[in-house]
Amino acid sequence: MIQVQAVQPERTAESSVVFSVRDLNVFYGEFRAVRDASFDINENEITAFIGPSGCGKTTVLRCLNRMNDFIESARVEGKVQYHGVDLYDPQINSNEVRRRIGMVFQKPNPFPKSIFENVAYGAKLSGRFSKTEINEVVENALRQAALWDEVKDRLKASALGLSGGQQQRLCIARCIAVKPDVILMDEPCSALDPIATARIEDLMQEIKKDFSIIIVTHNMQQAARVSDRTAFFTTEINPESDRRTGVLVEIDSTRKIFSMPSDERTELYVTGRFG
């Protein structure tokens, strides 16, 4: 396996800021999907991205761990700094970035392998653990994801036999096992029922002391329930081309966004009169 030089995060006075994003523009070919987004993400907080469909919140999220690299036509402009390091610097190893900034997806996507292998996969690839340590890593990750008691007797069974909610918690465990610094969640509950959703939300509160979490959600109540800070995105329609571009309207404490937002558009959205 290829060992990569780790990016040493600069721990300065700004150490509570994980991401510092300035003038982020994302293009898919000629089409501008996101315009001029600037924001900071704090450590050990849950930040929610909300907004109507097509507002670019998922696109922005995927810029934070260079997941957009895999979309052929995607182009990112602006600065995305992670602990002071420019993530789009040509010298950065994007796999190492994704190891530190993990991701949980909209649809639970366990590998068609055993529960154990799912959780162990990323940790094994990192090459940081011996065989016996891997067992420990898997158990700890499953415990942290509140799944251990349900699966400890069938670690060798296929992950596809789990329920949707269990699968999503498995995906969170798989992410945790790599010991990331940040977890990006792209509508992690949109495919789950309310009970499974509640479990994931509880889980997020449990793990936020260890990780910084950014969650994209369509569900405003969820954002209000789980997050410390909320970013509201919306779409602006270009009158000439009739195409929609996502813009960040504001980012503030969740309480403020939902009670007295600075921008009228935010108020219209959170009160359900728009979007």
Partner: protein, 305 residues
């Protein structure tokens, strides 16, 4: 009282309309025709082949080619066909799979790459004889120092080139059908493109890849035309060596079918040809079966039972 007005014909079963009856009958005819021709073919081969096996027993498999059907066997042909099969497995399958992986996972969708893919598709439709000409020029001619002319190695190389497009196309389709979520899951924990391909994409695509392999192998084992072009021998006593003169079962079938049955012997050449055909059939079915069993193993893993 219900306000819905319903005439008795509204809920009529349209399955019984004349159009669908005619269509159903037409489909039945098509299936019957297909099965019937297969049955006639198999029955014919069996009835023709049985006298040969009764007369020769296992000698038919282990004897070399003789001047009379009564003393002739197919051993050199079996050796040649087996060599070709192994050659295709070792050469065309890894090469085709690698090409499929490159084209699906690595190559950017440039105009040139699209052109390459279209041409690979076209190559799958090129007649086998043309590949024979290619094999004659390249593998028998230019690469004579390696192949020693028209040998099993030259045949395996020629047929590998022949089946490559099939393996590449089925491989690409199998790889394309792997859900994006699986790839993203791998990337999400920091895996590289190669790690994701090796650990998740290829295992998930394995059933489709195996289907392509089985198709390719069956085709390679059944071809006679390219072997004629590169000079497979049809006379007596070809050697059983990788670099010497060789033959293969389709060659024997082709050659023996054309010979007149002499009045004297207990069996004629046509019986030997049918028996050789039966052996080839068994060989191909055995390969297919292995492929199907392997495929099931991978498919089970994919759905998690």
């Amino acid at each position: 009282m219900s306000t819905v007005e319903l005439s008795p014909t509204d809920l009529r079963n349209r399955e019984k309309s004349r159009g669908s009856l005619v269509l159903g009958f037409g489909l039945l005819v098509a299936v019957t025709f297909t099965l019937l021709s297969l049955f006639v073919l198999l029955a014919r081969i069996f009835t023709q082949a049985i006298p040969a096996f009764r007369e020769r027993g296992t000698d038919f498999i282990t004897d070399t080619i003789g001047s009379e059907p009564g003393i002739s066997g197919i051993w050199p042909g079996l050796f040649g066909s087996f060599g070709i099969g192994v050659g295709v497995l070792l050469l065309a399958v890894p090469l085709g799979l690698a090409a499929a992986i490159y084209l699906e996972e690595y190559a950017k969708p440039t105009r040139f790459n699209r052109f390459v893919i279209v041409n690979i598709r076209n190559l799958a439709g090129v007649p086998a004889v043309i590949y024979g000409v290619l094999g004659l020029i390249i593998f028998v001619g230019w690469l004579r120092p390696i192949t020693n002319g028209g040998s099993v190695i030259a045949a395996a190389l020629t047929l590998s080139v022949l089946v490559l497009p099939v393996i590449i196309i089925t491989g690409m389709e199998a790889i394309r059908s792997v859900p994006t979520g699986i790839r993203e899951a791998g990337y999400g924990v920091g895996a590289t493109r190669w790690e994701v391909t090796r650990d998740h994409v290829v295992p998930y695509a394995m059933p489709g890849i195996l289907t392509g392999t089985v198709l390719a192998l069956s085709r390679a084992l059944g071809e006679a035309a390219p072997l004629i072009m590169i000079g497979a021998i049809t006379g007596l006593l070809p050697e059983t060596s990788l670099t010497g003169k060789f033959t293969a079962i389709p060659m024997l079938i082709y050659n023996w079918s054309g010979r007149p049955d002499s009045a004297g012997g207990a069996i004629g050449w046509s019986n030997s040809a049918a028996a050789a055909g039966l052996v080839l059939l068994v060989l191909v079915i055995a390969f297919n079966l292995t492929g199907v069993l392997l495929r099931q193993k991978f498919e089970k893993k994919r759905v998690g039972t």
